[in-house]
């Protein structure tokens, strides 16, 4: 056995025995129901840690600064969207249009750069994204359209609009400063990562500590009880969708800026991956439960899988199968835990 591999197995063995003793201590303190709840509540943390340690052991490149920053940067736009989607899911609704809004935001920004200048163009495009979120919210909250169907329909319209604007061509921006947002760094860390961090902190604060956060959980947990407590159901729902639109806009701006071009598309894979990240984190699809840290772990966990597959050199084809299986596992676990 080569010494390197030997060392690795030794590390793995030490980790295993360490994990066992931690587990024994935990199991002793929490038995039965409490233990079950602990596992259910922190499954994502355990899975993330296991995968992280596993990759650190299995790959030499994984624990390098470049790789980790790369991992964060790749997942920053998705993470921003997933954080906002957490608001929507907590209210018991769903937003399938985030991908399409992100794509259109990029197209709009690329289109308006010449007329408005780089930063104003990005800003106005993001404001348009907020407007699209508000429209979704109004349709869901006041016209009582099922949110899944509503956002599926609006995402078709939005994707169609971006196609109509670009006429199917990629819109490349000549101004080199258009790529600042996507490619420039602050203290060695890309702007997009900073934006992800800011979004994470804000989401965490708002959900856990603010009045609006309380409203979100109440509306998603029991709309009638929330209404009888004087909470404006419609307002809360519209606000959640507006936040979702804002995040989609920011993510779209980052994506367009990274490549220096706007491209039409329905962004459906963005929507689905963001949704998957939220759900894998343990936020309930039925509303009333969820938190920012869960979504952060969910995003990073899915990101780790992709990163790990690349590093270890497994065919990316199998990635989707694994990711799909994990999403199923997460949702099934949530559903089973409710039946207990």
């Amino acid at each position: 056995m080569p010494p390197m591999a030997d060392e690795r197995t030794a590390v793995a063995a030490r980790l295993r025995s360490g994990a066992r003793s931690v587990w024994a201590a935990v199991a002793e303190r929490f038995h039965g129901e409490a233990l079950f709840r602990l596992i259910r509540d922190y499954a994502i943390v355990v899975s993330f840690a296991a995968l992280f340690i596993g990759l650190a052991v299995a790959s030499d490149v994984f624990l390098t600064k470049t790789n980790l920053l790369n991992l964060l940067e790749q997942n920053a736009p998705l993470g921003i969207i997933a954080l906002a989607l957490t608001f929507v899911l907590i209210t018991g609704e769903f937003d399938l249009s985030v991908g399409a809004i992100a794509m259109l935001t990029g197209v709009l920004a690329a289109t308006w750069v010449d007329a408005l200048g780089v930063w104003p163009a990005l800003l106005v495009a993001v404001l348009c994204a907020v407007g699209m979120g508000v429209v979704n919210g109004v349709l869901v909250a006041y016209a009582k359209v099922n949110s899944f169907v509503c956002t599926l329909a609006t995402s078709l319209i939005i994707a169609g609009a971006s196609l109509a604007i670009t006429k199917g061509f990629i819109r490349t921006v000549a101004d080199p400063s258009f790529t600042d947002l996507g490619l420039d760094e602050l203290m060695g860390v890309k702007y997009s990562i900073w934006l992800f961090i800011v979004a994470a902190v804000l989401t965490g604060l708002v959900l856990a500590r603010s009045k609006f956060g309380r409203w979100l959980y109440a509306v998603g947990g029991n709309p009638e009880a929330a209404r009888l407590s004087g909470i404006n159901l419609g307002g809360v729902r519209v606000a959640a969708f507006a936040i979702s639109g804002l995040a989609a806009g920011i993510a779209g701006a980052i994506l367009a800026s990274r490549t220096g071009q706007g491209q039409a598309g329905d962004g459906i894979s963005i929507s689905l991956f963001a949704f998957a990240a939220v759900v894998v984190g343990g936020t309930s699809v039925l509303g009333g439960r969820g938190s920012a840290w869960r979504t952060i772990f969910g995003v990073l966990f899915l990101g780790l899988i992709a990163n790990g597959f690349n590093l270890i050199g497994i065919e990316p084809i199998y990635q989707q199968i694994v990711q799909g299986a994990i999403i199923l596992l997460a949702v099934a676990a949530d559903s089973l835990s409710r039946q207990r």
């Binding site: 603010s210 309380r214 947990g221 009880a225 209404r227 909470i231």
Partner: protein
């Protein structure tokens, strides 16, 4: 089919109050119902059923003879529906036994009961609204072979059944498009298509207008003529007496008597529902101070189809009871005052006119609504005690949009202590508390800031005796502190024990006001059942 050639005991004569010999020979208080020669078709022996800590039925023995229409009546919560469900296999008794034709049976599901020819038509529709009448009738019993439906045969059979009992509903109509009365008739046909020999009907007239009630009674009599046995569960005593051969009265989950309907009147039935209450401890009432201001005044409040022309006044420190049967409109009145549902009419709080009623505006004006169902309307079960208690008054603990955590914790602790709820942690989900503690949390939510008016809708429903007593003390204490309380309850002794005066609601109107001095169970129940003027007997106008 089964019933046409029923040999043993001749089916009772077709129409009118049945001259069948009363079971157990007349109004007797003895529990053993089968005294005569004819053996009971279905008999319950010492049946008991508990839900949580509450006994829905205890030691109930009732016999039903083949071919009769047997009424089951009692107040709200007397256990009549539960007994019906046990007979039809929808609920399993905890104790006692059920005998069908003298043979003990143990039904695990309605499917077991239908094998013995017993089925139930409940208040909630049990049809598939998107399917046709014909498909509903034969659902799960499709005619045909090799997976192909024999629609012609099904249709022939449908017409055969419908004709026998005098129904004419188009078999290809979609069930969801039919009126409630017709849907009910489809359920009857379906029961017969499954060879039902005994049909339990739970409050069959509750959602029907007068003409439909008469038609239903005609159908029921036709069923009897066909030899089908009917158990007719209802709190509408006049309806029962009009159709039934014999009537069983239940009271607090106990058997009172079975007697011939011909020998009973609405009055006599109400009388037999009285009395035999367990003594409850109620705090000594504090008289309302002479100069106490009127905190709530309601004039001509109307919500079409629910209640009409409701006027009431509530003074600071006064507890006003709102009595009536389930569905009389009590809950709807409270919700309308609070602005949870739209209504017309005048509401004044502290003498100031209150228009554009909405929950948020009501809360600002000092109204509080403790809703009927804590699980569906009162609490967000999956969230913490802390979030639930603070939910309606977040502004009190929020600065610049963010919750002041320690301040909130302190206030929540105080409020929970005041309702005597001790929980391991105020961060645990409400769902993990007992029913009594959940109800106290639902009440605590409205004590965050002292309300002017508390609208308490069945505040002690489904809680144990200890929690009940605690809730009585709390409501009493609030009133003593000057809060006006509108107290809705189906438990008469609560109203008698707590309320300064009681308003009785019947079919959407306040029909009586009874002062504490005059109040007894009988006066309230007579007013609630409309026993004093049974002729009038109105039904909800639009069959809601």
């Amino acid at each position: 089919m089964h019933a046409t050639d029923e040999p043993a005991h001749d089916p009772t004569p077709p129409l009118g109050a049945g001259p069948t010999p009363p079971l157990g020979a007349g109004p007797t208080n003895r529990a053993g119902p089968v005294a005569g020669a004819a053996p009971a078709y279905v008999e319950s022996r010492g049946i008991g059923k508990r839900y949580g800590g509450v006994a829905a039925l205890s030691d109930v023995s009732v016999g039903v003879r083949r071919g009769e229409i047997h009424g089951l009546c009692g107040e709200n919560g007397a256990g009549k529906s539960t007994l019906g469900k046990i007979i039809a296999g929808a609920v399993r008794p905890d104790s006692g036994e059920l005998l069908v034709e003298g043979r003990p049976v143990d039904y695990g599901s309605p499917r077991d009961a239908i094998r013995d020819g017993i089925t139930m038509i409940s208040q909630e529709l049990a049809l598939v609204p998107q399917l046709s009448v014909l498909d509903n009738v034969f659902l799960g019993r499709e005619h045909g072979s090799a997976g192909l439906l024999d629609r012609r045969r099904a249709r022939r059979r449908y017409h055969e059944i419908a004709e026998r009992i005098g129904l004419a509903i188009d078999p290809i109509a979609e069930v969801g498009e039919l009126r409630r009365a017709h849907q009910q008739q489809v359920e009857i046909v379906r029961a017969l298509a499954r060879d039902a020999e005994l049909i339990v009907m739970d409050e069959p007239t509750a959602a029907l207008g007068r003409p439909d009630v008469d038609r239903l009674h005609g159908i029921i009599r036709n069923l009897r003529a066909e030899g089908v046995t009917i158990i007719y569960v209802s709190h509408l005593l006049a309806d029962l007496l009009e159709t039934c051969d014999s009537v069983t009265v239940l009271k607090d989950g106990r058997f009172v008597k079975t007697s011939s309907a011909a020998e009973e009147t609405v009055d006599s039935l109400v009388t037999s529902m009285l009395g035999r209450k367990l003594e409850q401890q109620f705090p000594e009432p504090v008289p309302v101070p002479a100069g106490a201001p009127t905190v709530l005044r309601v004039r001509g409040l109307t919500r079409p189809g629910h209640f009409e022309g409701v006027s009431l006044e509530l003074r600071a420190g006064e507890i006003v009871g709102l009595a009536g049967l389930v569905g009389a409109g009590r809950t709807e009145i409270a919700r309308a005052i609070f602005g949870a549902d739209p209504s017309e009419g005048v509401v004044e709080i502290d003498g100031a006119r209150y228009t554009r009623r909405r929950p948020a505006r009501s809360i600002r004006r000092g109204l509080a609504l403790l809703p009927e169902s804590r699980k569906d309307e009162g609490l967000v079960m999956m969230r913490s005690l802390r979030e639930n208690v603070a939910m309606a008054h977040l502004d009190e603990v929020v600065r610049a949009g963010f919750v002041r955590s320690t301040h909130e914790r302190r206030v929540v602790d105080e409020v929970l202590a005041s309702v005597d709820t001790r929980a391991a942690s105020i961060s645990m989900p409400v769902s993990e508390l007992s029913g009594g503690n959940q109800q106290k949390v639902a009440l605590a939510k409205w004590l965050f800031r002292r309300p002017r008016v508390l609208l308490a809708d069945e505040p002690t429903r489904g809680v144990d005796v200890g929690a009940k007593r605690a809730i009585y003390r709390l409501i009493h204490g609030l009133a003593a502190d000057g809060v006006g309380v509108l107290f809705i309850s189906s438990e008469l002794e609560e109203l008698l024990g707590l309320a300064h005066r009681t308003l009785v609601v019947r079919q959407g109107r306040i029909v009586d006001e009874i002062s504490r001095e005059q109040a007894d169970e009988e006066s309230i129940m007579r007013a609630a059942f409309g026993a004093t003027d049974a002729e009038e007997h109105e039904h909800a106008p639009d069959g809601r």
